[in-house]
């Protein structure tokens, strides 16, 4: 399966703490993207990391990519209640596969 697997499936933290979630693939990674989905809404693109990049930052987001391990991680620093959402990764090739996501709950 080319489906990405996010880990953990669910994560609950206190506001202000950091949240880390991981994504792994069985096939080779091309460009890897992370998306956020708030309850009842469509997915929103967060960040794209290319296969020749190892780390990328965007505001409070930090994404790393390890092509040898076929994995990526998303770190959200200084979390806020508004970060409560599900987070998905996708390895974009010719088709698009999303995993089941990591459900993040940030407790105020």
């Amino acid at each position: 399966s080319q489906q990405g697997e996010e880990d953990p499936q669910a994560l609950s933290i206190q506001e202000g703490e950091n949240a880390t979630m991981n994504c792994s693939y069985k096939t080779s990674i091309n460009n890897l993207q992370w998306y956020r989905q708030n309850s009842g809404r469509g997915l929103v693109h967060l960040i794209l990391i290319r296969s020749n990049e190892r780390e990328k930052h965007s505001g409070r987001l930090r994404v790393t990519l390890d092509t040898s391990k076929k994995s990526s991680s998303l770190l959200i620093t200084a979390s806020r209640a508004a970060d409560t959402a599900s987070y998905f990764c996708t390895n974009t090739g010719n088709q698009f596969y999303f995993g089941t996501g990591t459900s993040l709950t940030v407790i105020p």
């Binding site: 489906q3 091309n30 460009n31 993207q33 998306y35 009842g40 809404r41 469509g42 997915l43 929103v44 693109h45 794209l48 998905f88 974009t92 090739g93 010719n94 088709q95 698009f96 596969y97 999303f98 995993g99 089941t100 996501g101």
Partner: protein, 113 residues
Amino acid sequence: DAGITQSPRYKITETGRQVTLMCHQTWSHSYMFWYRQDLGHGLRLIYYSAAADITDKGEVPDGYVVSRSKTENFPLTLESATRSQTSVYFCATGGGAAQDTQYFGPGTRLTVL
């Protein structure tokens, strides 16, 4: 400027009926996609289109039909709805390449009784 819209937002239908979900974009993006989202399965690609009159199957195409006569519209039809097609359906657009960022619509919640 709505970007990408889906209609209806909610739909209840009965087994065996034909249902069409609409997707419209104002960006002139080349790619358009239909996904379904179910608990425990994440998002699964149903069909996608690289341009007008070009469509291709995704992971779960059975029971669905798509067309794309105009760049801005990508309707999804359930020819004979089944209960297993109860789901939330998302349309998305993408730029000039399959690897580009996708922009998702708000979704259509479909219930088949």
